[in-house]
Amino acid sequence: MNTGSNQDRPIELGFSQRLKDLVRSTATWARVAAICSFITTAYILVTNISKGGFLQVFIVLIITAVYVIMAVYLFNFGNLTKRGFDNIDQDDLENGLNNLRMYFKMTVRVLIGFIILFGIIILFAVLGSNSLLGG
């Protein structure tokens, strides 16, 4: 991590006005995307919970929970980054960027989960067709 001598020295990198505007507008768009995700999740939840069986409701709940967590990360990125620039607060800025990192991290994990699930389904399909051919 950073040493004390590093922190004492002035850092040569900062946010220019143009970069600040860019990051701020990116944060705004991220917030809009998060709000759209919340609406989508709510709709999926309402339409599936009312008519599904136990297993379907369980799967929908898990998927929407993951989706909501990702949307919260995105929303926090938008909020904290904007607040960080408004109040010139490095902590908010850092937390905002950390939320964006967590959003990408979670997306990676979800994607890996889907790949593993897809692989298992294909494996079972191949094994099933082989046993049918053998039988």
């Binding site: 006005q17 800025l93 990192r101």
Partner: protein
């Protein structure tokens, strides 16, 4: 003269908001995870393509609908969404690469270019999310009126 030049240099290097080492660290970690996401998403789509190409007959059976027009529309839709998916990955790739380079070389223009890509990425995702939300609203209106 020298003083003015020095003042000018100082003005140039002064920012409203500085990047603290922890902000730089967070930004570079974000880029790293964005890059990982690109690699895994590209790998996933490649794997699906390979599986479909390996079972070409099943794919053509799925694509061949009742008539040729319908199958052509399906192919066009598949190509369109494939293009959107690749555009998403390309934008994230540019974001992670440019910002990382910019931080390493202390080049703000590269960081700006990276954030521009991220902004476009979010704008496109908002556009598609809006389409989904509009379709939900239309469905709701349909349910209420019928």
């Amino acid at each position: 003269m020298e003083e003015i030049e020095q003042e000018g240099l100082l003005d140039e290097s002064m920012f409203d908001v500085n990047m603290s080492p922890s902000v730089i660290y967070s930004l570079s970690e974000t880029c790293r995870w964005a890059r990982r996401l690109v690699y895994i998403a590209a790998g996933a789509i490649l794997a699906i393509l390979i599986i479909y190409i390996a079972d070409w007959e099943a794919l053509s059976r799925q694509l061949y609908l009742e008539n040729e027009t319908a199958s052509m529309i399906l192919i066009i839709i598949a190509i369109f969404f494939g293009g959107v998916y690749i555009a998403f990955l390309a934008l994230l790739f540019i974001f992670s690469g440019r910002v990382k380079e910019g931080l390493q070389q202390k080049d703000l223009q590269k960081v700006e270019h990276g954030f521009m890509s991220l902004k476009v990425y979010f704008i496109i995702s908002v556009f598609f999310s809006m389409l989904i939300v509009i379709s939900f609203v239309l469905q709701l209106i349909n349910i209420i009126t019928s």
